[in-house]
Symmetry: C2
């Protein structure tokens, strides 16, 4: 087999690429109209102006429950000289909305009459047209109800129907065909073999299409075969308004998309200086737009927003809604390489009066970082980074209201936190909890800098043998706070099923045939490891893999399960979750640290209510295995 690799054709800035793309798509007109019933038009876009065909009210109508009268016959009525009007002849009962009988020209409210001897008795004259809604009061025939290019809301449906329209012309939905490519790609739900990748991207991109008002179609997965791919792209370009090819646009050996598009039409852009999202392809086949998206999900999502969305909006005749933005303070320094425009995902939290943005993972493949992000921060191509404390603009992915109702938890990772996050949302749907896993010390520092409401921490003090309090005294002296126990948990060495390397104690880490994986500095688990090593006088240099780090217990367990490493320090729960074995080392206390000034916030009250008194939550944590909940919710320390 001959490998043919490509070099990116272009490697231009996002701005240049966007200019080329906008010039290309500006030649497209909004799509032609299709006629649909008004009652089914929610969210569709008008393809022509909608005018009232009839007036509303359609005739003079009563504005009150009462009696229609001739105003001239009410003259002279007063308290001392009431006037009687004969029912049916001089006074006709009408309900709100009823048409005014011919010849009548005012309405008297039900509350203002007495019924006497088949008459109504009134004590006051009325003026002409009193309580009458004249024809056309709401909508006048021929009036413009909706302009062209208007996105239809429920109230518009009401107005169109009232104005006598029951069918209207709307824009046809832009058809977007998504073509997943690659021998390794399999359908969701299919059995997985090593190297398989589930085709999640098609459906993520397709549902963006649906969300933006288009119609999503998807072909079967196309194997790595250029001619087959060409045929699929060609077919799709005939039947769709936009063709999206997933993956295959970078410079790998099986990246046939650029060649295929070149053969069939024109490549406009290939390769853009952005992170994530470099290997994007923009092209045209017989004047139909084609977008080749990167295979990495975050890159695919972001670049489809950049290029797919404006096109779909253009075809619908609407403008993309501007994302909400806000100012926030960057919590830590972000380094960036000159030459790439970068789009950072950040978590945003409101702690005290400040909105704090904390960057999350930067990998193009890390979908969960996008899924959990609250916003995106743009780092210009010419920047070497952004200093901590800088005020930055954040393009929001969740509403400001949701962000304000989010408990920000920064610190050590624990599986029970996932359960807590779920219970908070389950029991109090208006609140969320977001966690960033930076280790126990990172949590304490986040509390110190007011970047978090809650820090999860399990820092063992070697002198006292106590957890956390010594560190609070050192770093958070004089800060009023409470330390609340979440759980006790078993720490130990996680090993593969059957313990093939026969690891029995911490001393086995010195063996040549054992590969260890460590936690990051500042984590309580790292401190525990280091304490064990010092207690046994073991030298770090002699441990294979001491310098290789993971950030979570599940990361450690995952690395062990995969066989990449033989053992690592972690909690029993993580071992149980992945069906691994465990050599116990310590039983430690895992606490939540909260400043007193935050304790009164309703969302923190809700969180504490779950921890202190929700038996269902307690059972869920116990069912994970490896937890002791005897002190759950107890304030173990306060100052």
């Amino acid at each position: 087999m001959i490998f043919t690799r490509r070099i990116y054709q272009t490697n231009i800035s996002l701005e240049e690429a966007f200019k080329i793309w906008l010039e290309f798509i500006s030649a497209f007109k909004p799509l032609g109209p299709e006629e649909i019933p008004v009652v089914d038009s929610l969210g569709r876009v008008t393809a022509e102006a909608v005018q009232a065909k009839i007036s509303s009210p359609f005739c003079h109508a009563s504005a009150m429950d009462g009696y229609a009268v001739r105003f001239i016959e009410t003259f002279g009525a007063s308290e001392t000289n009431p006037v009687r009007l004969k029912l049916h002849e001089q006074a006709v009962a009408v309900n709100t909305g009823d048409p005014i009988p011919t010849g009548f020209n005012a309405v008297i409210m039900i509350e203002e009459i007495n019924l006497v001897d088949n008459c109504i008795e009134i004590t006051e004259a009325v003026t002409p047209y009193k309580h009458i809604r004249p024809v056309g009061e709401d909508i006048v025939q021929t009036e413009l109800i909706l302009p062209e290019n208007h996105v239809i809301r429920p109230v518009d449906i009401g107005a169109m129907l009232s104005g006598g329209n029951h069918k209207i012309m709307v824009r046809r939905k832009p058809v977007v065909t998504v073509i997943p490519t690659g021998n390794e790609i399999v359908e969701p739900g299919a059995p997985l073999k090593t190297g398989n990748i589930i085709d999640s991207n098609s459906y993520m991109i397709g549902n963006l299409v649906i969300q933006w008002g288009g119609e999503f179609r998807r072909t079967e997965v196309v194997q790595d075969n250029k001619e087959l791919l060409k045929q699929k792209i060609l077919d799709a370009s005939v039947s769709s308004d936009l063709v999206v090819v997933l993956a295959g646009a970078s410079a790998g050996t099986k990246d046939f998309t650029p060649n295929a598009v070149e053969d069939l039409g024109t490549v406009l852009v290939h390769g853009i200086n952005i992170k994530p999202g470099k290997p994007v392809l923009l092209g045209s086949i017989s004047n139909k737009p084609v977008i080749g998206l990167p295979g990495y999900p975050v890159a695919a999502h972001m670049t489809f927003e950049f290029f797919g969305r404006p096109l779909i909006c253009r075809l619908l005749g609407i403008e993309p809604a501007e994302a909400e933005t806000m100012k926030a303070m960057l919590s830590r320094h972000v380094a960036s390489s000159i030459g790439h425009e970068e789009f950072l995902r950040v978590k945003v939290g409101k702690v005290g009066e400040n909105f704090i943005a904390t960057p999350v993972g930067r990998g193009a493949g890390a979908l969960m970082t996008l899924q959990r992000a609250d916003g995106i921060v743009q780092v210009p191509a010419m920047s070497e980074g952004i200093a901590a404390g800088t005020e930055i603009d954040v393009k929001l992915l969740r509403s400001k209201g949701e962000i304000e109702n989010t408990v920000v938890c920064i610190g050590s990772h624990d599986n029970a936190l996932d359960v807590l996050a779920n219970y908070l949302k389950k029991k109090f749907p208006s609140y969320s909890m977001s966690s960033a896993h930076v280790g126990s010390m990172g949590g304490i520092m986040a509390i110190k800098k007011s970047e978090a409401h809650v820090a999860g921490t399990h820092l063992l003090d070697e002198q006292s043998g106590e957890y956390n309090i010594a560190y609070i005294n050192k770093f958070l002296k004089d800060v009023p706070l409470k330390l609340i126990n979440l759980a006790y948990r078993e720490q130990g060495l996680i090993v593969r099923k059957g313990n093939p390397k026969n690891i029995k104690s911490i001393e086995d880490l010195m063996r040549d045939d054992v590969v260890f994986i460590n936690r990051q500095p500042g984590s309580g688990t790292r401190l525990l490891t280091d304490k064990c090593l010092r207690d046994k006088n073991m030298a770090r240099e002699n441990i294979n893999g001491y310098d290789k780090e993971e950030f979570t217990h599940m990361g450690i367990a995952s690395a062990v399960m995969s066989g990449a490493t033989d053992t690592g320090m972690g909690i029993l729960t993580a071992a149980i979750a992945l069906g691994l074995e465990f050599i116990p080392i310590a039983n430690e206390r895992y606490d939540l640290l909260i400043k007193k000034e935050h304790l009164g916030m309703p969302m923190l009250q809700a969180l504490l209510q779950i921890i202190t008194s929700d038996n269902e939550f307690r059972s869920s944590v116990l069912s994970l295995g490896g937890y002791g909940v005897s002190d759950m919710g107890k304030a173990v320390y306060e100052q």
Copy 2:
């Protein structure tokens, strides 16, 4: 027939009603789950936590296009001492995402090697795991992907699929059955007889249900028959999660809803002290919620938001999204009666740096005022009104961005403005134009007070015979502005087809058998009428209907067409639109007044581009009839 009328059972505040309702609905649990494919889950709500069933990546994978190697075999490589690794044996080509072959533990990027003699040549050693995405880097098996009660987005679909979920449990959609009632109610599209009302409310309410995530069902229109209505309500209460009865809840003779609900279950609230929306009914039938909505569309829409939305959200396990709010300055005094909490519809415009809120019509039936509103302002029950210039909180119905992109046009009404509004949206989808019709003088004052970008005006100066300029000199002296002609138009007396009263000139208004309808003071048309009367020495007191006022040309034409009045002064275009006849009185110039400081705004540039050079727009205006466009777009005056 015996009329039986009801008095409202309760007449409580919105706050009290809301408290009773919340207490009632707080007993409802979120709806049970149904299993659906993840790929179809956009916008649905999770009914249980979604956890990763597998890790992603599923195995160690290459993070780059390049070659998988054993790091130990790269030791010692340098520029002066390159190392060669045999293809297939020591170096295996991998594309991004490919699994790392067993035994290999690092990847070298394609850019960093040379292919020589069936080998790759490298000049630098690599570290273990370089460019390898370890198993679980993105998602670790058992990790919480989504908590319960989460509204699913495209990125969530990607994450769930990547985590090995292809079916999930979501909340069943709450079923809402809407029952339209009343003998006068007809289906959209059915032929209309006098007194008929098109059932627009069912579909407006039903589409709110859809928008909020529920399932909308609708019964046929139920005639005014209590037993029939009871049966329909009972049936619906069995098959739905919420029953909505449209109209029939006020105190009219045919308002059977309260009795029906009382017979079947419990009336919780009947009658609330709010405007619009007083005759609301809240009830329970065998513990199924029932809402009786007012027949007036604005009242129905607003009260369904108050009471229907929280229930639907409760059943879905989510919180209603908070509406965006903003501060704005009230442009004119609003009077309010003590004892009713009132919800004012307002237009909001950004003129200069200020957001100005202008109240629009207040009738409960005026659906177009809600359809055109930008926001809602709450006037407390204990308030007698709000003074002009007060800063108020506006709950937005459109986004702030849309409001900022709206040309605010206040002044005289002209049908060509409707056409202009449509062309602006048609040609420049990001811009809108909103019009408030307060007469020419009102327009000039709005420009003076910086409440509008554009004022439409046609004020005849009796001395000079000129239009508009004398008034500008008087009220806007020293304000830099431009006066741009929109069109010339024919003013005259509008009469019914065949001119049954044989009206020939303005003098006929003095006849006893002729009923006139006037325009409001401050309108150019009123000035024209008054000038004609003075010219002919005609006394206002002798004109039937001089004191009855309409606010638009179409309103005048509509009143004439309905037979309520015989004639009124208006533009030829309005007469043509409704198929009426016309006696010409004057040919007047209708101009647009714009401050120079606003002329440079892109949205005003877009508007002027249409007026000055869009032939399609010009033709559309001409096709209305009654317009001269010889000076369209010409600056007739500037200062």
